[in-house]
Symmetry: C2
Subunit: 386 residues, 2 copies
Amino acid sequence: MKNFEFKNPTKILFGEGQIAKVSSEVPADAKILLLFGGGSIKKNGIYEQVMSALEGFDVVEFGGIPANPEYAILMEALEVIKTKNITYLLAVGGGSVIDGTKFLSAAAEYDGDEPWDLLEKRIPTLKGMPFGTVLTLPATGSEMNSGAVITRADTKQKLTMGGAGLFPVFSILDPTVVKSIPQRQLANGLADSFTHVLEQYMTYPIGALLQDRIAEGIMQSLIEVAPVIMKDPTDYKAAANFMWCCTMALNGLIQKGVPTDWAIHMMGHELTALYGIDHARTLAILTGSHYEYNLETKREKLAQYATRVWGVTEGSVDEKAKAGIEKTVGFFHSIGIDTKLSDYTDDYKGTGAEIAKRLTDRGMTGLGEHRSLTPADAEKIVEMSY
Amino acid sequence: MKNFEFKNPTKILFGEGQIAKVSSEVPADAKILLLFGGGSIKKNGIYEQVMSALEGFDVVEFGGIPANPEYAILMEALEVIKTKNITYLLAVGGGSVIDGTKFLSAAAEYDGDEPWDLLEKRIPTLKGMPFGTVLTLPATGSEMNSGAVITRADTKQKLTMGGAGLFPVFSILDPTVVKSIPQRQLANGLADSFTHVLEQYMTYPIGALLQDRIAEGIMQSLIEVAPVIMKDPTDYKAAANFMWCCTMALNGLIQKGVPTDWAIHMMGHELTALYGIDHARTLAILTGSHYEYNLETKREKLAQYATRVWGVTEGSVDEKAKAGIEKTVGFFHSIGIDTKLSDYTDDYKGTGAEIAKRLTDRGMTGLGEHRSLTPADAEKIVEMSY
């Protein structure tokens, strides 16, 4: 096991009816900016629940944060924060709204001239404006971690940011929100959280027994609830497990003491930037190819995964490893997610080279747990995903 | 899954060499009271590591906190805190030293006349004096939770206390400390952490899939490392997994959203109070009897445990459940822990009735996950453990 440091101070309020507690978590004298996305919260009752809980509080609204939160729009919200003397942010939404709120938390307390530097120059945020979240879409785990991914349309960039100051003060996870999520987003959430676990698990054995078991347990639980969720999102038991698995998949715990990969995400972000493909689906496109390409270095963990998570007991280590890859691709298909780039765009030729170039331009020359994958490797992996 | 709230702000610094970082975690202007136990830290090099890291800090020492931290001794330490204007506590030890430090953290900020009221009247501590820990004995999980158990000799009491203000600010977990722990304490740590998981898991199914998987994963990992640890405590991989499992067993995570039992602990505390038997061994004495006595209400989880943790695949649910109990008792034996009260004292007759009386006197009339076990039930369980 590697040495590690772990601290996650976010308070979780989990379960049906917990949204009403938002009023006890926000300071009474806060001037709140309520941030949300395309307005679905005004149709599914969540907005009413939040506003009813916040009766008597001073609340300003800012809606319209898009999937892949866009810098230009967030800069408008930052202007509102400054002109309205906002002191507390409340994200009501999924990963995009929460990530956008994290950017605003950092930018509101940032002294520099150009908030984009927080991403471009990778400046960690040690203290941001305090914020809470009401999660409406289980997927990214952003509700219990300190990272964010922000998109900038004019430069076609999608960059990460973070820092110990960017944990939500609290996050409310009410599984009944799952029932009003469209099928496509449910499938995305399942694929996204499943791949989050894979990225922190599918590397090489390092003797972190418990981290492996927890990662496997999250994947086993997601596999168990996935067909139920896709068929009947009103099933509270399945929705609750789905929601808690998504949070636990990326709250920092399972990555402690182990090597992590994240190459699928690095390449996937480029696919989203180039084609606008849903984040989770870019991961599904690349996962099988990435593991096939790196079979040699990942075979022990792939075989362990095949055995423990999918019950594959027959065959050599290589055969089990390959069975593990097949099962993973089959899992994506089972929730209605296509796994080839050509399923999403006819304009896929040359994408491998384009992504290699973009990674090179960004200086990202060593991807994966060994930091050994070159842009040329990425090119081949993307080509295997056509 | 039940509704829950979860927040655990303790910062963990895990791994070889982390003790040196204590200086970056304690405020530079702190006046520190360093608390420890019987002095083993002065023989195994841990004291030197801590003091060397704290060079330049203002440190007062208080040693001699016994196993089952004793109120009278802690009151002497409280006097030191007050007369020396201490502002920060540093526990260097195992669960007893850390629990004692939690009591001091609470008592130092307590306004009432009689600090024992914190336990007797169950007053939660929302803000205590800040404290960190350097763990020298993996077992209780106290290094990452907000609870403590304090003993009072003159009244033969052993009571619990806690509150959101009693999480350590930081805890340093260096697995190399394991190599200087005596065999008896290693076995105690394994049995203690294993039983902590059982108490939060062995109840009735409530559909918390991930909590079950994590609990099972901790137990699987402990079973895997136990023989290695007992044979060779210098094995870093085994020591690291042992240490992290003990912490994860009782940091609050696996109890969220599920019913918990804790009857074994309630009865076990009485055995320690009466006979001075090591805490972990009282748990091992009672576990088998408790599960046999409550087979009817725990059979589904016992059978799931037998299958997932011990690989028992044959037989009816009842047969699997019974096999699970046998495997558990066998696990205690495998690490050299006796599981009958008569192995520890010849004076065991009447203990069941005595414990029933003590529980009655304390108003503890409903033990277990259904709060349905009476003192008369406890009497029978203890008698089954003779």
